[in-house]
Symmetry: C2
Subunit: 236 residues, 2 copies
Amino acid sequence: MPSAPRTARAVARAELTRAILDRAREQLAEVGPAALSVRAIARDLGMASSAVYRYFPSRDALLTALIIDGYDDLGAAVEAADAGVRQRRRLDLRFGAVCHAVRDWARADPHRYGLLYGTPVPGYAAPDDTVAPATRTTSLLVSIVAAAQEAGCQPASATTMSRAEIAAIAPLTSFVALDSPIDPEFALRASVVYATLFGHISLELFGHFHRAILDYDTHFAHVVDQMAVDLGLRTA
Amino acid sequence: MPSAPRTARAVARAELTRAILDRAREQLAEVGPAALSVRAIARDLGMASSAVYRYFPSRDALLTALIIDGYDDLGAAVEAADAGVRQRRRLDLRFGAVCHAVRDWARADPHRYGLLYGTPVPGYAAPDDTVAPATRTTSLLVSIVAAAQEAGCQPASATTMSRAEIAAIAPLTSFVALDSPIDPEFALRASVVYATLFGHISLELFGHFHRAILDYDTHFAHVVDQMAVDLGLRTA
DNA sequence: TGTACATCAGTGAACGCGCGTTCACTGATGTAC
DNA sequence: TGTACATCAGTGAACGCGCGTTCACTGATGTAC
């Protein structure tokens, strides 16, 4: 009986666990992951710092929860953006929606984005629990590329791939469950898109487009367009 | 007389300044930028922690020096790699050399790369002094793209650009001193290449290709090749 | 329904740590006559 | 070349801070009879 008969204690526990996580997320947005402090969270919640340890065994466990929470939140946002595209066959629109969703999410809370995609927090080693939620966003990107292949899209240019190159990206070809594995050329394109998307967002958020790009929104939109064309999702 | 008549004091000063920076660089490689500690550096050098303040007025100043030093070192490595390509007209080779130089440099000292291109250090605001050295690497990338345009290379695909999009990247078109400004399409390509290159390196170093890419070296080489083809530096 | 015991949440003090920065000081190096 | 003074490098103690984590404890909640 896992659902109904929750004791008052269990209810309070769930609530406080969430309150701690909420406050941790806020802290994260304010000071960044490295400065996240168990004591500060407890202080803000009006409780003794030691009480937090009834809910999370260590600061690292709290960070892990935040990371998983972040990947899940991003994944949900990205999936919702994709699902919001009515014309499912317009892969260019779906691709654009996904890219913009990632960027919008990142800009809404740069520290949180940094926790996931920036420099790893010093002294913290992400456990395997964080891997699965992380793939949510990636899977969607790859699946759009896979759909492009199925739809017969022609990428702008293709390089010949050596056996070693094909082997290097083997996991990507079977990353999403499909009838047949993805062609290596498309898998490579997916990897390039992945790098460009997150690279662009990181460079923008971390200040490397300073004085080089004047209008980030416009420019990003155009980069996404360019990627869509390179992928063969639409013609120029 | 700025050169010859250096007093013993000035010599000692220069030497210790360098020793502090060297040790700071080593610390950086070991523990990362956020954990860089004035006291630890002093300890390692066998001096009082307060003595460091005769050379750098604050921890932030030390970080700034490390950042400038890092951009300069990366810039020098990248320029050397480019200069090492004898056939100056083989833009694909030059482009490849530059990309691999950035990645090699980053892999040699990931923390140092993270200081420059990762999450900004919390509580630290990089002063303008760091901007100029940062452009060294970027300029070289842009100048290769500009050379591609001058050589009449044809990128794989081009999207039509609105006035707003052209305006957004205006600084890039006049980023390197040339007879004529760079075409907007090439400037856009430069920006995409910039994002892809650093995005790929960051994703790789920060663990996001884990279990997705099996052979990083091979894969990166191929991504660079693909970019060269997309840029029209060579045919597939 | 009521009692006896076990479980759990939260407290507050404490441990031990390292940090950045300041300051009055000593002694060496440099400079001007 | 020698002396008098100014400048500078380096010291060691101290200030004030915040951190993660532990531990013995009190009082409330849950459970079994």
